[in-house]
């Protein structure tokens, strides 16, 4: 019942929370992609880190550009 309570109500996300929530999502994408691609499972941890950083940096750059365009147009 406690577990059901955890999933029944939404958690209010404000400020930095919405930006920080990108990190675990990108990490899971990097883990799944590299687990598929790496020939040996022991190569996965070292391959995940650069991909995770690349995705996060690229997403933040795109987000900052879109935010700048939005502010210019408004």
């Amino acid at each position: 019942m406690m577990l059901a309570g955890l999933f029944s109500q939404a958690i209010p996300i404000t400020g930095a929370g919405r930006i920080l929530l990108l990190l675990p999502l990108c990490l899971s994408i990097a883990i799944v992609y590299k687990t598929i691609r790496c020939p040996q499972p022991r190569q996965i941890p070292t391959a995940v880190l650069p991909l995770w950083i690349t995705i996060v940096v690229a997403m933040y750059v795109i987000g900052a550009l879109l935010w700048a365009v939005f502010n210019l147009l408004s």
Binding site: A4, L6, F7, S8, Q9, A10, I11, P12, I13, T14, R18, L21, P24, L25, S28, I29, I31, V32, Y33, T35, I36, P41, I44
Partner: protein, 163 residues
């Protein structure tokens, strides 16, 4: 590691992978990959449900295309939909940006969901579903490669063992 390699391994791996992420890989004997997929996709999916709430996140009427992506995670989406039906509220209210900054009447037995939390939760669950689609395709490719590596007799459907 499983001993038999048959033509039935391909649909079996795909089906098991759809029911639970990584189960197809575990069935094929790729234990490390299977457990990584199971842990990563399950955690991503239920983080999304926890952030957005099950009523706002799993909503086939409100956002049907996101629900299609969520359905790629068959077992988890079925469990979440069942949970949603079990916890069916008297009323579900989405707090929109305009309503969020104005006075918000709070009623008992109402599940409130902030629009931003619902959007983030929906994206998390849909991405988890699409990642599982990739995992299912990978399981199919691996089952097919194992079958091609097996002797010709195994293709007929008879179980093959390396002896």
């Amino acid at each position: 590691m499983r001993a038999g390699k048959t033509i039935l391994d391909i649909p079996a791996a795909a089906m098991l992978g759809w029911v639970f992420p990584g189960l197809g890989h575990l069935y094929l004997g790729h234990r490390v990959r299977g457990w990584i997929f199971l842990a990563t996709i399950t955690l991503t999916y239920w983080t999304g449900i926890a952030v957005g709430g099950v009523h706002g996140t799993i909503d086939p009427k409100e956002h049907p295309w996101w629900f299609v992506a969520q359905l790629c995670n068959g077992g988890h989406t079925s469990a979440a939909y069942l949970l949603r039906s079990t916890l069916e509220p008297a009323e579900f209210v989405t707090v929109t940006p305009a309503a969020h900054y104005g006075p918000q009447p709070v009623k008992p037995l109402v599940h409130y969901g902030h629009w931003l939390s619902i959007e983030i939760g929906t994206v998390y669950t849909a991405v988890a579903g699409l990642l599982n689609l990739l995992v299912i395709l990978d399981a199919i490719v691996r089952a097919d490669a194992a079958l091609r590596a097996a002797p010709a007799g195994a293709h007929a459907g008879a179980p093959w063992s390396p002896g």
